[in-house]
Symmetry: C2
Subunit: 237 residues, 2 copies
Amino acid sequence: MNEAEIHEILSRLLLAGKLSGGVKLGEHRLADLFGVSRERIRKVLHRLGHERLLEIVKNRGAFTIEPDLREGRIVYEARRILESGMAAHLADNLTQAQVERLQQHVDAEAEALRRGDQATWQALSAEFHFLLAEMTGNPIVQRQAHELISRTLMLVKRYETTAGSTCGCEEHRAIFRALAGRERGKAVKAMNSHLSLVETRLRPIACVAEGPSLEELVAAEIAARRAGDAAIPVAAA
Amino acid sequence: MNEAEIHEILSRLLLAGKLSGGVKLGEHRLADLFGVSRERIRKVLHRLGHERLLEIVKNRGAFTIEPDLREGRIVYEARRILESGMAAHLADNLTQAQVERLQQHVDAEAEALRRGDQATWQALSAEFHFLLAEMTGNPIVQRQAHELISRTLMLVKRYETTAGSTCGCEEHRAIFRALAGRERGKAVKAMNSHLSLVETRLRPIACVAEGPSLEELVAAEIAARRAGDAAIPVAAA
DNA sequence: GGCGCCAATTTTGTGCACAATCGCTGAGAG
DNA sequence: CTCTCAGCGATTGTGCACAAAATTGGCGCC
């Protein structure tokens, strides 16, 4: 198991919000779980800390962050600033092919929502914003947007009341329409109000059920990955 | 010499553009220079790599990046996206005190420019953008803006023709006026055109003179720091 | 004379062992 | 009964030694 794999597994686990806040990620414990040396885990942990997916406390170790609503406010405000800038840029620069791609996407969102396929809709809903970031064609903006969107995903997984999220599709469509119509001001407004609305859907529910243990989660991820890795060469050969 | 100090010294050196591109930063060499173990340097180097101030090549080591103009285009585009979003936000949210603070700043810029004090003006000019980022009150935006502005500083130090930079003060003032007048659209436009203008001032001058060696630069920084550190306690006591 | 290959050297990557630091627990005093 | 402080256990931080990889120089061959 190399360093990149471990990083991917842990970041996926963190972003999926599978772990409640404040959980300690001991170096030795993870080293045993992954079957690698402590130094490798150490490096990954510090990298995750630098990516703000973990909190590293000097001489204490790595802890999963408890994304409270106060932090949520900050992240969403940052997203409004960045993504409204993106929207303005895109309204001026989208190609016809990109507009069509967006059209397909919002249609797919609506379709998933109509079917009541909440899992697919949630995934597509997040992807909409990733897609916009991609369409700027700017790797820096993509990275920054990716970081912010990922952080809100952690929040949504934890705090969003699923009932209220069924109306979000129209908001994306409004953004799309403004972008397709090259209406810069309208696109910015639509983006801002959408993000504000998503933020207000976050409810301060107390963290209730303790999920599976870290060991189980990591083991499951490793198993899934091993199965996938084993399958790919066979299929490719 | 602790890790934070080394990181600060090296990043200051890198951001000041004192080193031409592609220079290799050997671990052992730096360890000797700073008089610390190789592992400490190693950690700092990887951190700088993650902050995109260095390029880390696996099994090859750390190299200073050669910020070419193609990358400059990307960074300035990202800045336009982010900082136009900031401008829109600030136009809606600036307090009176913040407006006055900005007024002071642009006045100071004009004063430095009038005096022909180019060093001060350049510093103030960069600080104007840092100041705007600060005024969003959003730590995430501050970090992202800081990273982007720092990267452009490296570019400017290397490529800007000093002759053309004397007209930049009015651009900042235009942004300020729009912000103070709460004119969101105008502020966004002023910010975008300012950043575009700064970008066009970059000229593809061939990297000519090789500056002082890495050893000399680091030694100078260490000396300055030691002197400063020694002076502060005395002055404070 | 140029090209390619092999070996030696230099440089980075990794695991290990020890040192330092922090939180916790338990005993003792007020 | 509570508060404090000291010792202890656990965990992270750091330096060292070894292993792996790449570059460079030289040598032989075409």
